[in-house]
């Protein structure tokens, strides 16, 4: 089980329709690569976030497949356009089966 996992996202509170808005996300996660050894020389099992998705009212913005070469505390920055007021849903999928989500509303004028 990954511990201390904490997602954070930065989304503007408002935008105009069709405007490209910048979104930044961070999730605190050690992203254990499966290549490190512990003090006894045993391989520390891989435990990473393997997928990250962003949807807006059910429509997809970005869907990322992650490998162990993504750094600790995975960071993503990308751009979205939104047609109307609504909510982004951010979802991180952990190797251990856990799913972390975060939701952010945006007002479109």
């Amino acid at each position: 089980m990954a511990t201390g996992v904490k997602p954070r996202v930065r989304v503007p509170k408002s935008a105009s329709a069709g405007e490209a808005i910048t979104i930044k996300t961070l999730i605190s996660h050690q992203m254990e690569s499966g290549q490190r050894k512990d003090k006894e020389g045993n391989i520390i099992p891989r435990s990473i976030i393997n997928r990250f998705t962003v949807d807006f009212d059910g429509e997809n913005v970005i869907d990322v497949a992650l490998e162990p070469a993504i750094s600790t505390n995975p960071y993503f920055e990308f751009e979205a356009t939104v047609p109307a007021s609504g909510s982004f849903v951010f979802t991180w999928y952990d190797d251990d089966g856990d799913i972390y989500t975060e939701e952010k509303a945006i007002t479109v004028s």
């Binding site: 990322v64 490998e67 070469a69 993504i70 920055e77 979205a80």
Partner: protein, 128 residues
């Protein structure tokens, strides 16, 4: 000079067939062009464990990133949905040593383009 080294600064090379296999798996063996994709990475990594990279390929459906010198070259793939305002993304990656980072975009028409940049991982020290 330094005392201990997290990553040795010599050029790291994965088995080239692993890079080739990853590219073939993504492209299905199609020709890969060079125009229409930008990969931005620092010339010198401040920390090989967290190297910021940006990919940008207007009109792409997906962009795959590889680290040609890591023991496993796979880094990740960005798939862009209908609400992506651009086919741009930025993340941070681990590099085991000085090597080329490669980005390959699958364009909407099914063609492929690539870009690469050398990122130097150094032990550092010294200065003016």
């Amino acid at each position: 000079a330094a005392l201990s080294l997290a990553a040795l600064p010599m050029r790291a090379l994965a088995a080239t067939d692993m890079v080739g296999e990853a590219i073939t798996a993504f492209t299905g063996g199609a020709d890969v062009g060079e125009r229409g994709i930008t990969l931005t990475a620092p010339e010198i990594a401040e920390n090989g464990n967290t190297v910021p990279i940006e990919v940008d390929a207007p009109g792409a459906a997906a962009i795959m990133v590889l680290a040609a010198g890591n023991p496993n070259p796979d880094v990740g793939t960005f798939n862009f949905g209908p609400l992506a305002a651009s086919q741009f993304a930025s993340t941070r990656i681990r590099l085991a040593g000085t090597q080329d980072v490669i980005a390959i975009a699958k364009m909407a028409d099914g063609s492929f383009v690539r870009a690469s940049q050398e990122v130097k991982v150094t032990i550092g020290g010294c200065g003016g």
